[in-house]
Symmetry: C2
Subunit: 235 residues, 2 copies
Amino acid sequence: MNRLEVFGVEGLGEIVRGADLAGMICDAVDLRDRDVVVVTQKVVSKAEGAMAAVDADDPLSHKPLVERESVRVLRRRGDLIISETRHGFVCANAGIDLSNVARGEAALLPEDPDRSARRIRDGIRGRSGMTVGVVVSDTFGRPWRRGVTDVAIGSAGRRPVLDLRGTEDAYGRELQVTEVAVVDELASAAELVMGKARGVPVAVVRGVDPAVFELDGPAGVLTHLIRSAAEDLFR
Amino acid sequence: MNRLEVFGVEGLGEIVRGADLAGMICDAVDLRDRDVVVVTQKVVSKAEGAMAAVDADDPLSHKPLVERESVRVLRRRGDLIISETRHGFVCANAGIDLSNVARGEAALLPEDPDRSARRIRDGIRGRSGMTVGVVVSDTFGRPWRRGVTDVAIGSAGRRPVLDLRGTEDAYGRELQVTEVAVVDELASAAELVMGKARGVPVAVVRGVDPAVFELDGPAGVLTHLIRSAAEDLFR
């Protein structure tokens, strides 16, 4: 029977610019081959120095940053902006976040979160010899439904989407649903053990069926998961 | 350390109209207090008889059903319709599904998936004495991102959204993100052990932090998770 374990990685310590995230993760947890390591965007941005200075006494001082990091603004209401980032993500405030960062700082999205994920994966392989999948996660809202969920903004080591084209259901009929966004489901599963307030920035998902999460080298979220306007019936 | 286990429940057997889903689940797995039982919409619809006859030789014969089950059509392209159901869900083909059902049948969404979840929860409590959360899950697409994920269409026994208003981050600052759609994350975690083709219609998530998934009697997805147009900046 397929069985997953999902657990948070605690005791990483404060992440500063230049921090060796892969090394810190390997120090904190005994990883196994085929584990999936989910790392929140916040610590990736801190380690990569994807931060900007803001006026800690002005709650709106990050707004010019939001404009700068947006290629298209979908909606504005009060202080909140829903926009598309240069990566192609649609989210609040261009993914810029003031929580769980020091006063006077704002965390931007990593420049290339797939590359961030590859670096962590390669670092873990170099340090521990283990071949893992890495997902960089962030917390996004969505239309029609209240509440936020964690989704993948970068991934490495595995295909982010499971392609079921040609697969048959239990009755021998070809499946209607053909692509499952496995990396998003992994990010959501990880969020359940991280929490927003507890400051657990890394989680491990162990036991993911290899058939569900195929090995596929360099492909990541940016190439596989961003949907073009032309093929997107939901927007 | 917070640790989740997620496992599929196999050996349930074929679900027919009138099936006692709660009893079948209790026969198949030893549940514990505070487990979350995720049940896919398909078996709930089968057990409740939320099915309709279609012409097995006509791939478009379910289309009139889709129109009937839709209160608002957002987009049409070829055979595919994105619409809003009477529940308030926005999804493809009004949630009507031909996979993993017998030839000549289509599964509709349950009439009130929160009520379905409550029935299963109550049935499990009556049968096993265990107080569990129940999530009824379905597979939806979404804008901007490729691939589908499983989300909650009904829930019972727990609050579907974790309200973090007033909670502080690790730096003592009030969190910007205030509501986490925990039931959707549970549905996504469960999908990772179910798969679309393997026909595992029920999964258990064990070890969910009670603080993350508060007990709250009757409230469900329909009252908590459907976002009105007025408060929805993403649509």
